[in-house]
C-alpha cells in the first residue's frame, strides 16, 4: 500500500480526478477509432481469425482409407468391418496378412487407420466376453488421429450395441487405441478456446503496449509526466478502452463459434465469462509490463508479436498437445497464461465441468495478473530514464 500512497501526496478532489479519467478515456477511444487500421485490427481481425481457424482446420474427416488385420475371420470381425464401411467416414483399402506389414502400408499407401483384431475374436467375445480390437493411426497428425479413433470406437461401440440388443449377451468389445509415432496424445482438440486465448492477448497486450509506447515516441509522455496527473489514472485510462473492446470481441467470438462453427457451450456461461475476464486482466497487465520497458512502438510490436505470440500459439496447447512436447517445453508452458486459460475454457465450454474443476487454473491466472500489475506499476518510469 505504501506504493499507492506515493501518488496521493496532495489529493485533489475526487470529481476532478474522475473528470481527468473520463476525458482521458475518451481520448483513448478517439485514438483507436480515428485510426482505420487500429479499428480494423481490433474489430475485424478476431472475426477473420475465428472463421479461418474454424473452417481451415477441418475436423470433418470423410472417406479415410483403412486396412484390416484379421487373423480370426469370423462373424464378429466381419460385422465390425461392415459397420465401418457403412459409415461415410471410412473406405476399405485392403486386408493385411501379417502384423509386420502394418507400418509399411502407413508409409506407402496413405492409409489413415488400421484395425487389428485379436485371434479367435468371436469365440473370445462369446466365452470370456472380452474381445480385443486395436485401432492404429498416424500420430504425426494428432488431430486427425484422435478424430479417426473416436469415430472408429463409436462405430465399434454401436456394433456392440446391436449385438446386445439382438442376442442379449453381455458382450464387451474393448477397442484399444494405439497412436503410432505419438503414443501419448491426450485431450480433446478444440480450437475455439485457443483462438480466444490468442486474440485476447493480441488485443490487450499488443495494443496496450503500443499505445503507451506511442505516447513516449511522439513526446506526449514528456508533457504527461510534467503534470500533476497520477500515473495510475493514465494507466487505467489506457486500459479501459481495450478492456471494453476485448469484451466485444469475446462476445463476437462466442456467438460465431456457437452459431457458425456450431461449437456448443456445454458448461456455465457465467463461469466462462468470469474466466475470460480474468484472462483479459492478465493480458492487459502483460501489455502494461511491456510498455513500461520499451520506448518505441516498433519494439513493443516486436516483443508482443514475436516474443509473446509465438509461445502463446505454440506452447499453450492451442496448436499442439502439451503432453507430446519435450519435457523442457512442458515446463515452459506452465508460465504461459494461455495454457491455463485454454484448460479452464475447455473444461467449461467443451466438457461442461463446474467451478471445482478450474480452481487451480483460476488461482494461477489470478496470481499472474497480480504479479504483472505490481511489477508494471513498480517499473513505471516517473522520469525519462
Amino acid at each position: 500500500m505504501k506504493f499507492f500512497n506515493r501518488w496521493h501526496e496532495k489529493q485533489p478532489e475526487k470529481p476532478i480526478r474522475m473528470r481527468q479519467f473520463i476525458v482521458f478515456t475518451q481520448k483513448e477511444f478517439k485514438h483507436i477509432f480515428r485510426d482505420r487500421w487500429t479499428t480494423l485490427i481490433l474489430l475485424v481481425l478476431p472475426i477473420l481469425m475465428i472463421i479461418l481457424f474454424g473452417f481451415g482446420i477441418n475436423t470433418e474427416i470423410k472417406n479415410t482409407k483403412f486396412a484390416v488385420y484379421d487373423p480370426s475371420h469370423d462373424v464378429a470381425t466381419q460385422g465390425i468391418v461392415n459397420k465401418l464401411l457403412t459409415s461415410e467416414y471410412f473406405t476399405l483399402s485392403e486386408f493385411v496378412n501379417t502384423p509386420n506389414e502394418i507400418e509399411n502400408i502407413f508409409k506407402e499407401k496413405g492409409i489413415g487407420l488400421v484395425v487389428v483384431f485379436s485371434e479367435k475374436f468371436y469365440e473370445n467375445l462369446l466365452h470370456t466376453g472380452d474381445a480385443q480390437v486395436q485401432l492404429i493411426t498416424d500420430g504425426t497428425d494428432p488431430n486427425t488421429a484422435s478424430i479417426l479413433t473416436a469415430y472408429a470406437s463409436n462405430l465399434i461401440f454401436s456394433y456392440q450395441q446391436d449385438l446386445i440388443s439382438a442376442q442379449d449377451i453381455p458382450y464387451q468389445i474393448k477397442p484399444e487405441i494405439k497412436l503410432l509415432y505419438n503414443p501419448t496424445l491426450k485431450g480433446v482438440y478444440s480450437t475455439v478456446p485457443g483462438i480466444i486465448g490468442v486474440i485476447l492477448i493480441l488485443i490487450c497486450a499488443m495494443m496496450t503496449s503500443i499505445s503507451i509506447a506511442r505516447e513516449k515516441e511522439q513526446g506526449t509522455m514528456e508533457i504527461l509526466l510534467v503534470s500533476p496527473m497520477k500515473p495510475i489514472v493514465l494507466i487505467l485510462a489506457k486500459v479501459v478502452p481495450f478492456f471494453c473492446i476485448s469484451i466485444v470481441n469475446l462476445v463476437t467470438i462466442l456467438l460465431l463459434s456457437v452459431f457458425v462453427l456450431e461449437v456448443p457451450i456445454v458448461g456455465s456461461l457465467f463461469l466462462l465469462i468470469l474466466v475470460s475476464l480474468l484472462y483479459i486482466f492478465v493480458a492487459l497487465s502483460i501489455g502494461l509490463l511491456i510498455s513500461s520497458v520499451v520506448d518505441k512502438q516498433m519494439v513493443a510490436l516486436l516483443i508482443s508479436g514475436m516474443a509473446l505470440m509465438l509461445p502463446f500459439v505454440y506452447l499453450s496447447g492451442m496448436m499442439f498437445p502439451i503432453e507430446s512436447m519435450p519435457i523442457v517445453l512442458q515446463w515452459i508452458s506452465n508460465i504461459i497464461p494461455a495454457k491455463w486459460f485454454i484448460i479452464a475454457m475447455r473444461n467449461i465450454m467443451i466438457k461442461g465441468l463446474g467451478f471445482s474443476s478450474i480452481v487451480k487454473e483460476v488461482a494461477i491466472l489470478s496470481f499472474m495478473a497480480l504479479f504483472f500489475i505490481m511489477l508494471s506499476l513498480k517499473k513505471f518510469k516517473l522520469r525519462l530514464e
Binding site: 485533489p12 482521458f24 511522439q218 513526446g219 504527461l224 503534470s227 500533476p228 522520469r383
Partner: protein, 325 residues
C-alpha cells in the same frame, strides 16, 4: 527571489553498450556572485521572477538536457537545482503541478482536433478551458477558427501556438519552452515572441531556449551555452557592450577562397561566415581597411567590400566559442 536556481548541475552521457564516455551533456558550476561575469570556473544560473531568460546555443549544446533536468524529467548526476523554491529531485511532484513545459518536438496528439488537445491538457492539469480562457485568449484566437481541425494538419506556426496554449492552460508560474520557434516561419516567430512578452507582463517566468541568435536580443537575460558549459550570462545589451574587439565584415566575389585568405592573414583574429559576408576580428591594430583590401586584391579577389560593424550576440558567441574549440 529567483524562481529558478541551479548549482553545479552536471549530467554525463555514457553510451550504454561500451560504457565509453560519450561527452558531457551539461556542466554548470562555480561562484554565483562573480561580479565581473568572468567565466573562469564560475557561474551560476538564476532566473528572476517575471523574466524572459534565454538559453542560447547551437544544437547539441545541452539545452534540452538542462530543460529536462529542470522539469524533473532527468536526474542530474551531481549538483542541485530548484524551481519555484522546490528541489528538482526531492520535490519533483510539486514542480510538476506548477510549471508549464513545451518540449522541442511538437508533442501533442496529432489525431485529436485543436480543441480536443486543449481539453485533454486542461483536464490533465485539473482545470478547464473556460476557467483559464483569458490566459490563452490572445494566442488561441489565432487558431480558434481551426478548432475542429486535427492537430497533425496544422501549419508549423499554428502547431506552436496550440502547444503554447496547452502549456499555458493551467496558469503555470514558470514556463519552459524548449526551442519553441525551431521550424517556424519568420512571421510566426515574431508573433510568438510578442506573445511571450505579454505572458511576461502576467508575471509568468519564462525560460526559453533557441539556436537562433537573433532571438537572443528579445530576452531579458541570456546564457550562451556550448558543449554543456555556459560561456557567459548577461543581458543581451551587456554582452554586446562587453565585446571589445574591432569587428569588420568582408565581402568579395569568391567567398570560399576569401575565408581561407582571411584566415591566413596574421592581423586577423577569428574569421567566420555570417550570412552573405564574413566577419573578422582585427588583432593587429595597425591593420586598416585599405591595407587589408590591397592584400585581398593581390590574392585575385574582386569587388572587395570591407566595413566596420557593431557586434551582435552572434558575434559575441563566436568570439567566446571559437577559442574553446
Amino acid at each position: 527571489m529567483s524562481v529558478i536556481e541551479s548549482k553545479n548541475l552536471s549530467k554525463n552521457y555514457f553510451s550504454a553498450k561500451s560504457g565509453k564516455f560519450a561527452g558531457i551533456g551539461l556542466r554548470l558550476s562555480g561562484d554565483p556572485k562573480s561580479p565581473s561575469g568572468d567565466l573562469g570556473d564560475g557561474l551560476c544560473f538564476e532566473v528572476d521572477k517575471g523574466e524572459i531568460y534565454g538559453i542560447i546555443g547551437p544544437d547539441g549544446a545541452g539545452k534540452t538536457t538542462l530543460f529536462r533536468i529542470l522539469t524533473t524529467l532527468l536526474l542530474p548526476d551531481s549538483g542541485t537545482a530548484t524551481v519555484d523554491g522546490f528541489d528538482v529531485v526531492k520535490d519533483f511532484k510539486k514542480i510538476r503541478s506548477r510549471v508549464g513545459y513545451m518540449p522541442g518536438r511538437f508533442s501533442l496528439y496529432q489525431d485529436l482536433t485543436v480543441e480536443e488537445n486543449l481539453k485533454v491538457f486542461a483536464s490533465i492539469f485539473n482545470t478547464t478551458i473556460e476557467e483559464n480562457y483569458h490566459l490563452i485568449k490572445d494566442i488561441y484566437q489565432h487558431i480558434e477558427p481551426f478548432k475542429t481541425r486535427r492537430a497533425g494538419a496544422l501549419s508549423g506556426g499554428m502547431k506552436q501556438k496550440l502547444a503554447l496554449s496547452c502549456a499555458l492552460i493551467h496558469k503555470p508560474s514558470v514556463l519552459f519552452l524548449d526551442e519553441p520557434t525551431t521550424g517556424v516561419d519568420p512571421v510566426s516567430r515574431k508573433e510568438f515572441w510578442e506573445m511571450l512578452k505579454k505572458l511576461k507582463s502576467e508575471g509568468i517566468t519564462i525560460l526559453v531556449s533557441t539556436p537562433y541568435m537573433d532571438e537572443a536580443s528579445l530576452c531579458d537575460r541570456i546564457a550562451l551555452i556550448q558543449n554543456g558549459e555556459f560561456l557567459t550570462i548577461d543581458s543581451p545589451q551587456n554582452i554586446v557592450n562587453k565585446f571589445n574587439k574591432i569587428l569588420w565584415s568582408v565581402h568579395s566575389n569568391n567567398m570560399s577562397k576569401l575565408l581561407n585568405d582571411l584566415r591566413s592573414h596574421a592581423g586577423v583574429g577569428v574569421c567566420y561566415a555570417f550570412g552573405d559576408t564574413h566577419h573578422i576580428t582585427v588583432v593587429d591594430e595597425k591593420l586598416t581597411i585599405n591595407t587589408l583590401s590591397d592584400f585581398l586584391q593581390e590574392k585575385d579577389h574582386k569587388d572587395v567590400v570591407i566595413s566596420k560593424i557593431e557586434a551582435t550576440v552572434e558575434d559575441c558567441f563566436m568570439e567566446l566559442a571559437i577559442p574553446k574549440n
